[in-house]
Homo-oligomer: 341 residues x 2
């Protein structure tokens, strides 16, 4: 009798085909209340409860914005939604829907795409809104292009340009953790496997998780918008804290004075000590945590959960402890390395 | 005296950097009336004149949806907007804005991106709406992800599911020209250079142009929506005439009976004769012309410019001259060749 060796090959998107794949990842998903018409027609239809809507788009490219050997598909999916949802909240708005363009190599396992979609929906559950439509195409690299739509939480969207001299600057979330996670994962990838002290182990795990899938503090923006004195300017930190405060300062025609003591983070200092790195650098220039930065009117304070980090002054630019920030600490698409960041 | 040879190397996107590139391609552009806040903040803000809005997204990948040796950047830009704008019109709506995710190899010339953006804006001028925002990232292949937003032209969007038995089926535009152009360009690419008769030369040029950048008949949808009896179902032909009529039939729970005599196209027959190809196949199964197909209520006729091609009957599927269509004439993302189509 001959023995037959059965090798089970998981089905790929090429095996399944575009339409069946779309059916698979949309099965059992419930649309949010603002989505009048979801996937399946030429376009989706959404309701604009306040007569206008906020739109943001971000593209994530394999090996540039995520690495398949660092992140699982669920984390990649959550990150893709999070960075778009954060842009919507950064306008003082809440997401009501998303459309997603997906470029997939033909040999991508169907299971990978299902788990990616699970990540999209899991983060949409946290942020608000549902995936109302999309497009799936064949590409050489994995490409994820998310467009998010939102309703303003207040009477009007909150831009970067509303900061006034005397205003209070505060942040929601802890900056620098994604940068710390990137440094940790890079070292591990280069074979530098350290034995972390028990006291640091939890921090290391949290930093790596923060890099793989940020968890923006959506609720703190929602709470701030629900008060009698919402922020007058708002932005999300994606290029780096100082870089994005610089964008806010320029848009408002003011200067931002940052007090670095308010940003000290003992956990990140532990982490940095082990890596012989600089926690302050991570905090001031690391992006991708999608921390929110808001500016309150002179004399007004942000609600609980926000951390005061500085004030608005006359002038231009961003100063840290009185010293003007000049570095290109932020991250541009065509500078730096090609590794995920 | 030594001679100096000066070689001028055009600046690339890597030379210029992301932010300067964004400034360059946005310079001098005027936003449309529905765009309350354009590029430069965390997100754009648009007005929904009718309280709801239509959203469509499409991703175009180099060598899959366009070829850099077949199309110039202006044509690629126009095609990217056209196929999204067509989806908005196919809902009985008109575009008011677009956001565009752009993945660019680092060595892409800045001039290429400027001309691509010119193409976006040129087709947006034809279709309505303006480019309200976007994202530019580094990628291995050129990737263009367009999301379009629109206002319904009538009281409500027109879906694929409104067709009723006895209804009249009509199309706006001439199907098959993009497929003919693809066939022509493929032969030329394979070195088959024919000497076209004078009578065919103009048709050949027009077919190649139709493939590189379709020109959907937006005005005919606008005219139809402005009448007292607008279409009850509407779709755009992107997968192929019979495939997309099949989607409409399935969504409406009816059958579509097509009369092929109404689709005869003498110009395409000339073209097909030269290529030893089948014009009927191009017309019935070629997609990407973004022809519109509409269904009018029993007894109602479409306005001038629309071509009657059939009627809605009880049953399922699509029949041509009485024979049920079974072929997978449409195009799925993961089937067929990888060449542009």
């Amino acid at each position: 009798m001959r023995k037959v060796l059965a090798i089970s090959i998981p089905p790929t998107v090429r095996d399944l085909g575009e339409f069946a794949l779309i059916d698979r990842i949309n099965a059992g998903r419930a649309q949010g209340p603002a989505v009048r018409l979801g996937p399946g027609d030429d376009a989706a239809v959404l309701t604009a409860a306040r007569g206008n809507y906020v739109v943001s788009t971000d593209m994530l490219i394999e090996d540039r914005h995520f690495r398949l050997d660092w992140s699982n598909p669920d984390e990649i999916g959550r990150k893709a939604i999070a960075q778009n949802a954060a842009d919507i909240y950064a306008m003082g708005a809440e997401p009501v829907g998303y459309v997603i363009g997906l470029g997939l190599p033909g040999d991508t396992p169907v299971d990978f795409v299902s788990r990616l979609a699970d990540g999209f929906w899991a983060e949409a559950e946290r942020a608000g809104g549902s995936v109302a439509g999309g497009d799936i195409v064949h590409s050489a690299q994995l490409v994820i292009s998310v467009t998010a739509f939102g309703d303003p939480l207040g009477d009007r969207p909150v831009t970067r340009s509303g900061a006034r001299v005397g205003g209070t600057v505060a942040i929601a979330g802890r900056p620098g953790w994604s940068a710390a996670g990137f440094a940790l994962l890079s070292q591990a990838h280069q074979g530098v496997m350290r034995r972390h002290a028990d006291s640091t182990a939890a921090v290391v795990v949290a930093a790596a998780a923060a890099h793989r899938a940020p968890r923006p503090a959506y609720d703190l923006v929602r709470a701030a918008m629900g008060t009698a004195t919402p922020p007058e300017a708002l932005t999300d930190i994606s290029d780096g804290l100082l870089a994005d405060l610089g964008h806010l300062a320029a848009a408002s025609g003011v200067a931002v004075a940052v007090d670095s003591a308010a940003l000290r983070d003992p956990d990140l200092q532990l982490c940095a000590a082990e890596l012989e790195a600089d926690a302050r650098q991570w905090i001031l220039t690391g992006g991708e945590d999608h921390v929110f930065a808001g500016v309150w009117a002179p004399g007004e304070a942000p609600p609980p959960g926000w951390t005061l980090i500085g004030r608005i002054e006359a002038g231009r630019g961003v100063a840290v402890d009185g010293a003007l920030y000049r570095g290109a600490g932020g991250w541009e698409a065509f500078s730096g390395s090609d590794s995920a960041k």
